[in-house]
Amino acid sequence: MSTATADSPMTQVRPKKRRSSRGDWVYRALITSMVCVVLTIFVGVFVVVVTGAWPAMRRFGPGFIVKTGWDPVHLVFGALPFVVGTIIVAFGAMILAGGVGLLTAVCVTELLPPWLQEPVTYLIELLAFIPSVVYGLFGLLVLAPMLQRTVEVWLLEHLGSRFAFFNGAPYGVGYLSAIVILAIMLLPLIVSLSREALVLVPRELKEGGYALGADRWSVVWGITVPFARDGIVGAFVLSLGRALGETIAVAMTIGGGFRLPTTIMDQGYTLASVIANEFNEVSSAMYLSALIYCGLILFVVTIVVNIIAYFIVRRLSGIHGFRA
């Protein structure tokens, strides 16, 4: 086996010179044309979404993103409430899931005995197999009523008078429920990717830390986590992409509303969930186009986030074989 190429992801052996074969020509043409079809579809998706959003783009211009108002009768639309809603929900969920997920990954790799690591990781990764509509069901029928009775009441009583952000009516469904349910959905991704990054930290580095007299905790936070930082950042960016685009679970738990949120218990929409919930209510071509415009904003943002994630992760895969 040629040692140089065997593990390098970019180069598989390909015969440089050989008899010309008609079979090979057909094979390459067929596979390459499939790739072209797929790439054409991808470009087509973008073109179609832009075309669908075009009437609204012409009418409202880029100001659509920073305007409020959602009036299907007078055809005045502005996406700011959904943009703000998307930011609140995605980042709220990222903070929750990032904290809990990273700590869980540290616990699994550094604290648990080896025989427990695999089963616990497997169980947490099972969360990724639960379809998002099931999260929505759980969020709507179990989590939201529970938050309404406990956390939201507590927030209102203890923090509501000091921070307007918590001074809302505890409805149950609303931003807070969407944040919590989305955080649970992001957990398996963050835990498994962070864990991969943590596992790849060379043993010698940690041993060096112990040799200098550091205890386990200092080694974890002073050596292991900083060394795995790039992988963890990659995991977070990938999860952010997921968080921005999650549709149905958020649509079921966020309540629905077209005004700018003032508290975390308000009801509203994200860019993705407004499309899912309002699509069947569409009453005019301009309304539809405004919804597609929301989709276009979401599309562009997730593409940017995913390209960033791809390059972070790819840089790592060159070094360690890290694979997200």
């Binding site: 086996m1 040629s2 550091a214």
Partner: protein, 293 residues
């Protein structure tokens, strides 16, 4: 950390820190792990607790009952799910596997290959509802009807990049020495791909396929824009069609306790199906994977 520093330093490097930050810290990580596992078990627990009562023979073979009434089943949704997944596989598997073969066996490091790789990895992360919008405009609007074909197409498009990447990954696991052996025997490239590399990676490709199917079987958002859902058995490929996640969505949002219970029941069946599928696969493919790696 701060507390270590203020309580005196020695000349021999950092003072040995107290055990308390570590105990508290690891305690926190343990709490986080329990929270993560708790989330899993409470979701599964609620599904089983509320859903098991809804599942019986009639639930699997009957049509939905009249609005708000007890009884009835989700048979049309189950059938519709099978049809949609079938159509999605016709679209997604060949194209996905083809792109995977391209990336692993043909592409190398040309600019075109790099673009393809970025495009695939980017589209894995594109929200599925965007594919729904695309299919709505290219198929639903021109044909003037929501349809099974539109739903299946949307799911198939979601499947393509997932399938492509898993296929590329497993084909890369096939050692180059095997390819070289094929070439040394005078085999052409297509024979090496189809008679050596793909068979060696078969189990992995199938695993990727099942994972992709599991993923699209749980998709709801694109189906709202394409398949729509209804109360009846599928009546044609160009007619609206029901699907299990659409049924769960409808029942979860309805005002009736009977609906809620049936939503739990349907969700339990969906999760159970996905879990059994992936577990069976894990067990059956474990042996095959070993020599390929």
């Amino acid at each position: 950390m701060a507390s270590e520093r203020k309580s005196g330093t020695s000349d021999h490097g950092p003072r040995r820190p107290s055990k308390w930050p570590g105990r508290v810290g690891f305690g926190l990580t343990a709490v986080a792990t329990l929270l993560s596992l708790g989330a899993l078990f409470s979701i599964l627990g609620y599904l089983v607790f509320h859903g098991i009562g809804a599942i019986n023979w009639n639930f699997l073979v009957k049509e939905p009952a009249a609005v708000g009434e007890a009884g009835g089943g989700i048979a049309p949704s189950l059938l519709g799910t099978a049809i949609l997944v079938g159509i999605s596989m016709i679209v997604g598997v060949p194209l996905g596997v083809g792109v995977g073969i391209y990336l692993s066996e043909i592409a190398g490091d040309t600019p075109f290959a790099r673009i393809t790789r970025v495009a695939i990895n980017t589209f894995i992360g594109v929200p599925s509802i965007i594919m729904g919008i695309f299919v709505y405009f290219v198929l639903v609007k021109p044909t003037n009807t929501f349809s099974a074909v539109a739903g299946g197409l949307a799911l198939g498009l979601i499947m393509i990049p997932i399938m492509a990447r898993t296929t590329e990954d497993v084909l890369r696991l096939v050692p180059n020495s095997i390819r070289e052996a094929g070439y040394a025997l005078g085999a052409t490239q297509w024979r090496v791909t189809f008679e050596i590399v793909l068979p060696a990676a078969r189990a992995g490709v199938i695993t990727g396929g099942v994972l992709a199917v599991a993923r699209v079987a749980g998709e709801t958002a694109p189906l709202i824009l394409t398949a729509l859902g209804n109360e009846y058995y599928p009546s044609g490929l160009f007619k609206p069609i029901d699907e299990i996640t659409l049924r769960i969505l409808k029942y979860a949002r309805g005002p009736y306790d009977v609906w809620h219970q049936q939503a739990y029941g349907a969700a339990l069946i969906l999760v159970f199906g996905v879990a059994i599928g992936s577990l069976l696969l894990r067990l059956t493919t474990r042996d095959y994977n070993a020599p390929g790696r």
